[in-house]
């Protein structure tokens, strides 16, 4: 027992046990207990976030080295937990109205978060795979949660088939790496790479592994599923997809490339750069023609993943820090945006077309302001937080002599500015008369708070500084 170190993984154990208990509870009751289950699940997620932040220390390895607990994992788990809790909170109203309020939704969220938590603390290729699969399986079901909807079923199926393909790539990569190094453990892989140097099989395995993970963060050219799934899935699910899983998957990539493969950065750097360039350009150009706001957000997330890979390509500690700053800010923005989208209801249903936003400035001033802040922040216009996200993301890349990549990213963000501007234009410049239904309080508060965060946080010096110290501590966990 002495090597299991169970006390390090209490947060995960809590999640696993409570998810199973909630599942049992839901099955045993005949009447609909969904709201109760959801509230409990939100509570569990918040406790999980706090626990994994506080309890994780001191650092160590659990399950004989399969999982590692360090400051990096603590930081990412905290934000994943909070993002998932917010996702559930925002989903409630929608699910009730669409008659989708089944308790399974909350349980699936818990399992997905468990999977993500294993992903970000994986210290072994097998636990990596288990984490990825656990998360993905839960997400497949959530994408098709609206069983009666053709679009949702299509989204779920598409996601599943392509996801299975990517899992195949992942497994093939793992087996290649295992074959050429003889080990699955991250530390041993690093030692083996150091001792024996490169081999073609190892590089092949690494490339397959990265491709499989690129699918999870919807980096181009593995992005094909994203627009369809974002559009087809129920909106709260889309919001959930856009936030926590992306954060988990890119954190996993960061751990993978700086840990076991930290010594061969020249090899994976090219892959990351290629993914980054393609994502930025495809995300920026693909979004230009979209009329559906969820599809637009899909392309926007592709582009943003491209930006997040820019600092990672530097492969330095500052790079990981830049990535974490960027992703944290992106997380805040996405949660806010989807809180807004969920609020925007017209008489006969949800707003999905961008043109329906016309007149929002007249009918709901607060929400229009919040949306404007989000869009400008995604564009990276100062003084909004999105600018600082990009600033800190691009700094390490410049330091690593990747200035051309930064210039490319900046140009892509100018192209991207066009479609974000279109949303602002529709809200403020067009004279429309879309009647919006008064939104739910929890939604408007969430969007207001995240908008205020984006506007205000940098103006106060000590917040910005302490926030950076926090993230610096997190990224030092990988080195």
């Amino acid at each position: 027992m002495e090597n299991l170190n169970l006390h390090l993984v209490w947060p995960e154990i809590l999640l696993a046990i409570s998810a199973s208990l909630l599942l049992g509870f839901g099955v045993s009751k005949t009447q609909n207990r969904a709201p109760l289950v959801r509230i409990i699940a939100i509570g569990i997620l918040v406790v999980f976030a706090l626990l994994s932040y506080i309890m994780g220390s001191p650092d160590g390895e659990a399950f004989k080295g399969a999982l590692v607990v360090d400051s990096f994992g603590r930081y990412t788990k905290f934000f994943i937990g909070i993002a998932a809790a917010l996702g559930l909170l925002l989903a409630g109203n929608y699910l009730e109205r669409e008659k989708l309020d089944h308790y399974e939704f909350s349980v699936l969220t818990l399992y997905a978060v468990l999977g993500m938590s294993i992903m970000v603390s994986a210290n072994n290729l097998l636990s990596l795979y288990i984490g990825v699969e656990m998360q993905s399986l839960a997400l497949y079901v959530m994408a098709a949660f609206n069983r009666d909807s053709l679009r949702a079923s299509e989204a779920g199926l598409k996601y599943f088939v392509l996801g299975a393909l990517s899992s195949g790539l992942l497994l093939y990569g793992i087996s290649l790496i295992y074959g050429f190094t003889g080990t699955l453990d991250f530390n041993n892989i690093a030692a083996s790479v150091q001792a024996d140097g490169l081999s073609i099989g190892l590089i092949g395995g690494l490339v397959f592994l990265l491709c499989g993970l690129a699918f999870k963060i919807s980096a181009a050219p593995f992005h094909m599923w994203t627009p369809d799934v974002y559009e087809g899935a129920p909106t709260p699910v889309t919001g959930f997809f856009a936030a926590a899983p992306k954060f988990a998957a890119i954190a996993l990539i960061a751990r993978l490339v700086t840990g076991p493969f930290g010594d061969i950065s020249a090899q994976w750097q090219q892959v990351i750069i290629a993914l980054s360039v393609m994502s930025m350009l495809i995300g920026a150009i693909g979004a230009l023609q979209q009329t559906n706001i969820k599809r637009l957000m899909a392309y926007s997330s592709i582009a943003n993943m491209g930006y997040a890979l820019v600092p990672l390509a530097a492969g330095t500690e500052a790079g990981v820090r830049g990535m974490l700053i960027f992703m944290t800010i992106y997380l805040i923005t996405v949660v806010g945006i989807f809180a807004c989208i969920l609020q925007m209801r017209i008489r006969d249903g949800m707003v999905e077309r961008i043109s329906d936003l016309s007149g929002l400035a007249k009918n709901n001033r607060g929400m229009a302001l919040a949306m404007t802040v989000f869009m400008l922040s995604l564009m990276g216009i100062p003084p909004l937080l999105g600018f600082f996200g990009k600033l800190f993301a691009f700094l390490p890349a410049v330091q690593a002599d990747l200035i051309w990549l930064v210039v490319l990213a900046l140009i892509a963000s100018v192209i991207g500015a066009f479609y974000y501007l279109r949303i602002i234009k529709t809200m403020w410049f067009d004279e429309g008369d879309t009647e919006f239904v008064i939104p739910v309080r929890s939604l408007s508060w969430t969007s207001a708070i995240s908008a205020l965060l984006l506007v205000g946080i940098v103006l106060v010096p000590f917040i910005a500084k302490s926030g950076q110290n926090w993230i610096a501590l997190a990224s030092s966990g990988l080195f």
Partner: protein, 511 residues
């Protein structure tokens, strides 16, 4: 009392506070309609005017306190901000202090002039305007590269909203063009800023974005070329220089009157200010290398856009093109890098801020009455609007550069400066001066003189008191600066000499 006050921060924060107050006002009376709504709009204008006058008085106090015998930065404020050497660092020297004053001077006039011409959402309009004032003052005060960039790019947001919401028929196109053009320019500058940050770190030993310290860097000539071009992309678009000026006429025509005034009066000056603050001191070798390019573009701008201006049918477009031409004098003067040239460039920017602002106000006066800016529509206004004819005459002459007005001083100084370096360029610019007389007098004749053929003009009224209140201060300053230019040149002299001395030392000619 003033010594201990963070006066520059106050100048930035005060308009922002005003904007917050107005937003709160909007929040508490969101359901009001009719009478109450009109009263609210009136109050909003009053509050905004009060705030902006307060800012102006504060900036006047600052200028009186300003010590023009030193080239050092004054009223410096320095607080750690983002870490890694990125600081909240403000200060003004002889080059920037008058731009702050110009901003604070033009804003209350704009607010005063907007009372009638804005038809909807007056309160939001005032909020946008105050935010814009804060950002513009920030641009001229920032002494930290990142902070400067923050203000420099942030100004796009209120201007985009201003054109898009309160603009004319083609406002969406114009606002997009304005936003994307200038954004593309400034992101290239951002890339250069990041590079300089790391170069400075490796050379100075500490990470810093302090503009003053970065100016001491000796950047290798090859890198300077690229950095200069990146900064040039940003400033040339803002300026705007030929051939990237095409966003300006569109933006001007579509923007509401006060928006045009701010655009021509302040926003364009950011480009020239950028050349003075960054391109010359930081990249002297590259500046020397690219001087022929700047001269060529400037002369093309002066001659070509003057000719284009002559062919315009829209009054605002004509003035917009004339702005491009006048900015050509500025770039030409700055890159002559001698006392007359740079002094002239700064003088020309300030004077053009007043003159073009005044001209746009003049267009606004007749546009508010007739809702058209077509030159052919007007004619014979002198009979109906004698006061208007007087003001327009004054500003048209100033625009042409008639001696006795501020326009003359700026143009003659830049031309003298350039003549020392390259007489041919000065000759080209002189040709441009003649052409500017051609289009400006053509405009004046077509609008003011002749028989009033258009029946709709039969009962057009002359300027009212508010309009006179807006134009009179501008007229006074245009004349005062024309006969007593030392008001400006005394303030800027020491800083400019210091800039030139450093520049010459850097390119190895000695000073």
């Amino acid at each position: 009392m003033l010594e201990n006050m963070p006066i520059l921060s106050l100048l930035i924060i005060l308009p922002l506070l005003g904007a917050l107050v107005l937003m709160a006002m909007a929040r508490f009376s969101r359901n009001s309609t009719g009478e109450a709504r009109a009263q609210l709009d009136k109050n909003a204008t009053g509050v905004a005017l009060l705030i902006s006058v307060g800012v102006f008085i504060l900036s006047l106090l600052m200028v009186f306190q300003f010590d023009s015998t030193t080239a050092d930065f004054q009223f410096v404020e320095r607080v750690e901000w983002l870490g890694g050497g990125i600081e909240y660092h403000l200060g003004v020297d002889g080059i920037s202090v008058l731009f702050v004053l110009l901003t604070a001077f033009l804003t209350p006039l704009c607010i005063l002039a907007s009372g009638k011409s804005i038809e909807k959402n007056m309160l939001d309009y005032m909020v946008t305007f105050l935010i814009m004032e804060a950002i513009m003052i920030g641009v001229f005060c920032a002494l930290d590269l990142i902070l400067f960039y923050l203000f420099f790019e942030a100004v796009l947001i209120p201007m985009f909203i201003l054109i898009g919401v309160w603009g004319g028929k083609e406002r969406v196109y114009a606002s997009y063009k304005f936003f994307l053009y200038t954004l593309l320019g400034s992101v290239l500058m951002l890339a250069a800023v990041l590079w300089i940050y790391f170069y400075g770190q490796s050379e100075l030993g500490v990470a810093t974005t302090d503009i003053v310290r970065l100016q001491t860097l000796d950047i290798p000539a090859k890198a300077q070329t690229w950095l200069w071009l990146a900064f040039f992309a940003s400033f040339a678009v803002k300026m705007p220089m030929w051939p990237v000026h095409t966003w300006l006429p569109d933006a001007h025509v579509q923007a509401p009157t006060a928006g045009s005034v701010i655009l021509a009066g302040i926003l364009l000056k950011m480009g020239g200010y950028g050349f003075l603050r960054f391109s010359l001191p930081m990249f002297p070798d590259a500046s020397v290398k690219f001087t022929p390019l700047i001269f060529a573009l400037s002369v093309i701008a002066i001659i070509y856009t003057s000719l284009v201006a002559y062919r315009q049918k829209d009054i605002k477009k004509l003035i917009a093109y004339s702005s491009v031409a006048h900015m050509g004098f500025v770039t030409m003067g700055i890159f002559a890098v001698n006392a007359q040239g740079i002094q002239g460039g700064i003088f020309q920017m300030l004077s053009h801020g007043l003159i073009s602002g005044a001209l746009f106000f003049c267009v606004g006066v007749i546009y508010d009455r007739m809702h058209t800016r077509e030159i052919a529509f007007y004619g014979g206004l002198v009979k109906r609007m004698p006061i208007y004819a007087f003001f327009l005459m004054l500003f048209t002459m100033a625009n042409v550069g008639l001696p006795g007005t501020s326009g003359f001083v700026g143009e003659i100084l830049t031309m003298v400066g350039v003549y020392k370096v390259n007489p041919w360029v000065a000759a080209g610019a002189a040709l441009g001066m003649i052409l500017s007389a051609v289009y400006a007098l053509y405009l004046y004749r077509a609008v003011i003189f002749g028989e009033p053929t258009n029946e709709k003009l039969a009962d057009i009224e002359d300027m009212n008191r508010t309009e006179i209140m807006v134009l009179a201060p501008l007229a006074i300053f245009v004349i005062i600066l024309g006969v007593y230019p030392s008001l400006i040149t005394d303030v800027t002299a020491v800083s400019v000499d210091n800039l030139i001395a450093n520049f010459n030392a850097a390119i190895g000619q000695g000073s």
